[in-house]
Amino acid sequence: KQTVVSRESNLLIFGVPSNMKYFLYSIFSNMCIKGSLNSLSHFNDYRLLRSSKNKTRLCKYSMVFFLTCIHLQSIFDWNVKQLFLYLSAEYSTKNNALNQVVLWDKIMLRGDNPRLSLKDMKSKYFFFDDGNGLKGNRNITLTLSWNVVPNAGILPLVTGSGHVSVPFPDTYETTKSY
């Protein structure tokens, strides 16, 4: 049966003997985002999995990540109808001075559980660059931001104050796509 877990473990089996092609980072252990003050300090753990390089020489990446313990209760005041959370990657390449790509998003309505504990979340959208700028890029910054949608009024965009820097591998992997 093809489940996410079985596919991941298949990839790991292929990956481990072949030269550390997967990057496993455990940067910090625990992370809490509280209200508007804060801080995506880090991802608990993430993995970069590369799916196949297609004919037009676009390099696609997917990321698997963990986010634990996000408390957003204090942002939900009387005028907040919903929060649109999104994880974006920002980096620079020789083609473009600034690139921003949204990897994952979530809508959190007033009344939903304000504690987000996400494990094994795959990035929702494939991570493409305009060109080949992701290969060997040492400095890709991931930040969590949110758009506050009020019942009526201003629509602010808030960026969480922490970020994680991710280096991308220098070579394309040639493992199977998933």
């Binding site: 109808k81 919903q82 649109f84 999104y86 974006s88 920002e90 083609n95 473009n96 001075a97 600034l98 690139n99 921003q100 790509v101 949204v102 998003d105 809508i107 309505l109 959208y125 493409f128 305009d130 931001s145 758009n147 949608v149 009020p150 019942n151 009526a152 009024g153 201003i154 629509l155 965009l157």
Partner: protein, 177 residues
């Protein structure tokens, strides 16, 4: 009807006064609208949401207030209102990808929150990215339901004419005593 009684009793001067009054109201409204266009930098500073592609944030009939300052950079996560080349309908969606060159040239991709796929299917044939010139404005503020009046007026033009006729008649005929 009292209004018509007033009209018969008016002399020429009062009639001119009424017409001027009417003209004042119309030109004040126009001034405010044009003033808003200048202040916000957007050709259409107030738009009505026409589709459900941004639900549950915005529903059909909600009102959005836009700004379009030249120096405001376009960044991922922003809600932009844009028009596809050749089409008049403004679309309200969120920016999900941005690629900006050193010289300020920006190209970006949008997607509606409630849509499964990005907007490439909505763009012109062969167009893969939007540019600054396609942007009508950035959504900065929001009022629910108020825009429904515009949608009703568009869908039922007779209602629009009737409303305008009643308002016009009222202003023209009402006498300030």
């Amino acid at each position: 009807m009292d209004l018509f009684g007033d009209l018969r009793r008016m002399n020429k001067r009062q009639l001119y006064y009424q017409v001027l009054n009417f003209a004042m109201i119309v030109s004040s409204a126009l001034m405010i609208w044009k003033g808003l266009i200048v202040v916000t930098g957007s050709e259409s500073p107030i738009v009505v949401v026409l589709s459900g592609s941004m639900e549950p944030a915005f529903h059909r009939g909600d009102l959005l207030f836009l700004t379009n300052f030249h120096d405001d950079p376009i960044r991922a996560g922003e809600i932009v209102v844009f028009k596809v080349e050749g089409r008049d309908i403004p679309i309200v969606h969120r920016v999900i990808k941005v690629h900006e060159k050193g010289n300020g040239n920006i190209k970006f991709l949008t997607k509606g929150d409630n849509n499964e796929v990005d907007d490439r299917g909505l763009y012109k044939e062969g167009q893969n990215w939007l540019e600054k010139k396609d942007v009508v404005g950035r959504a900065r503020g929001f009022l629910p339901y108020v825009g429904m009046v515009t949608i009703i007026m568009n869908d039922y033009p007779k209602f629009k004419y009737a409303l305008l006729a009643v308002m016009g008649a009222y202003v023209l005929l009402k006498r300030e005593s």
